[in-house]
């Protein structure tokens, strides 16, 4: 039984069908990276999985329980599915520490003191113990995103969904965030939408190429980078390589 299973997910906004039948599974601790051009439904898929935008058709199971059913307790489910946003979405009025601890306190019902202790430990993991008392507006983009990751981690999720976590960052700040994500590999399952091919190649257990609302192809990084089956996958990876100056796969 996979930890997370999506079966034949469809999602439309008005007349526009964004997802046209997506199926994927994830095991505990696995890292999967979704790549593809903008507007192919990658972010929508993540939002379907944590039920921010519930799918129109198809089912999702988390640890064998269907979460797409009418009876499912959305708030309970979301605690197990972390989410890291492109534009961070830190709570502006709370310190870094409180950003991480508030979910523990108000959702998990932990005592304030315990919650803050745990939050501080999470901040330490992402290298921001010193910034615990700073407010989001006082942090750099990279720091904000690491707080975002700590906030997701603190809830002990089964899987964390990353929606282009480094796209809004200055190039020199991306590295820190990717390093933190790397350090989480195999500890928590991650489903990552990103254009960072270096991360995809080095950290992902599987790369999923999406286009036009479908999964075109998926496979291990070496398979996808060395000999993708589909012409479109090849073209996309070629373009990305030129755009981001990726060196050819060395071995």
């Amino acid at each position: 039984m996979p930890m997370l299973e999506c079966k034949n997910i469809h999602k439309s906004y008005g007349d526009l069908e964004v997802l046209k039948g997506i199926s994927l599974t994830m095991e505990k601790g696995e890292t999967k990276v979704i790549i593809g051009t903008s507007g192919t439904g990658k972010s929508t898929l993540l939002r379907c999985i944590n039920l921010l935008h519930p799918p129109d058709q198809g089912q999702i199971w988390l640890e064998g329980k269907e979460i797409t059913g009418k009876r499912a307790d959305i708030n309970q489910i979301r605690q197990k599915i972390g989410f890291v946003f492109q534009d961070f979405n830190l709570f502006n009025h709370l310190t870094a520490l409180r950003n991480v601890s508030i979910g523990l306190e108000k959702v998990k019902g932990m005592e304030k003191e315990d919650a803050q202790k745990r939050a501080l430990a999470e901040l330490e993991k992402v290298g921001l113990k010193k910034q615990a008392d700073q407010y989001p507006a006082q942090l750099s983009g990279g720091q904000k995103q690491r707080v975002g990751i700590a906030r997701a981690l603190a809830m002990d999720p089964l899987v964390i969904l990353f929606d282009e976590p480094t796209s809004a960052l200055d190039p020199e700040l991306i590295g820190d965030v990717l390093d933190v994500m790397k350090s989480l590999a195999h500890k928590v399952a991650m489903l990552v939408v990103t254009h960072e091919m270096g991360f995809a190649r080095n950290v992902a257990d599987e790369i999923i190429f999406m286009e036009g609302g479908y999964i075109v192809e998926s496979g291990t990084p070496s398979k996808m980078f060395r000999n993708p089956k589909h012409k479109r996958t090849k073209e996309f990876l070629g373009k990305i390589a030129t755009l981001y100056g990726e060196e050819k796969e060395g071995g």
Binding site: N50, L52, N75, Q76, I77, R78, Q79, I81, G82, F83, F85, D87, N89, L90, F91, N92, H93, I102, G103, K106, V107, Q134, Y135, P136, A137, Q138, R151, M155
Partner: protein, 216 residues
């Protein structure tokens, strides 16, 4: 001096009760379902679309005909509170709607219910943004309470009129009253300024003011 304490009472009660009404109505308007939102909009439009004087007259002179008798002070307290509530609801609505949708999404993603997200994430931010508007409302209320003299509430202005017509010292008396209003207004403004500073979110707001000054 008794008139002054009545004026203060009217101001403080109207602002506080109006605040509670304002929060409920604004939340209903922004987050309620269609029916609740429609009721809230109706309330706001009716109250803001009619003169306070008419509202006070309905409460004081109109209600007895349906068997509800209010003494002048109660009528003024209720009327001013409801009136202020409608305005405060609109101030707060503006603040609620100015908060990026990502704040709510992030809260829901943590597993918070909609109500809790509003309580812990949205409202604390929206209330801070509303503070300058409250400063306005407080000053406005302080002066608008003088209307209550028309329904025989012995507040500051009524008292002044009484003394003035007794002693024929109109100019002196009303000048003194004007000064009392002015000084009270300045004190209130200072208090709200301090509240605003106390709740300022570090890194937000202050820089913007400086930046804007630099641009200008």
């Amino acid at each position: 001096m008794q008139g002054f304490s009545v004026t203060l009472l009217l101001t403080v009660v109207a602002l506080s009760v109006g605040f509670v009404i304002g929060v409920v109505v604004a939340l209903g308007r922004v987050y309620g379902n269609k029916i609740i939102a429609a009721i809230c909009i109706g309330f706001i439009e009716i109250i803001r679309g009619t003169p306070l004087l008419v509202q006070l007259f309905i409460l004081y002179f109109g209600l007895p005909s349906v068997g509800i008798r209010l003494d002048p002070l109660s009528a003024a307290l209720i009327g001013l509170s409801i009136n202020s509530g409608a305005y405060q609801a609109e101030y707060l609505r503006g603040s609620l709607q100015s908060i990026e949708s990502g704040q709510m999404i992030a809260a829901r993603t943590l597993g918070m219910s909609k109500l809790r997200s509003i309580q812990y994430i949205i409202l604390p931010q929206a209330l801070r943004i509303t503070i300058p508007a409250w400063s306005n409302e407080l000053i406005y209320l302080l002066k608008y309470t003088s209307i209550a003299y028309i329904i025989q509430v012995n507040e500051l202005f009524a008292e002044a009129r009484f003394i003035a017509s007794d002693s024929f010292r109109y100019l002196e008396m009303f000048a003194i009253i004007a000064i009392i209003y002015l000084v009270t207004t300045i004190i209130f403004t200072e208090i709200i300024d301090r509240v605003e500073k106390r709740f300022r979110i570090p890194g937000i707001g202050h820089h913007k003011t400086l930046e804007m000054r630099a641009v200008l």
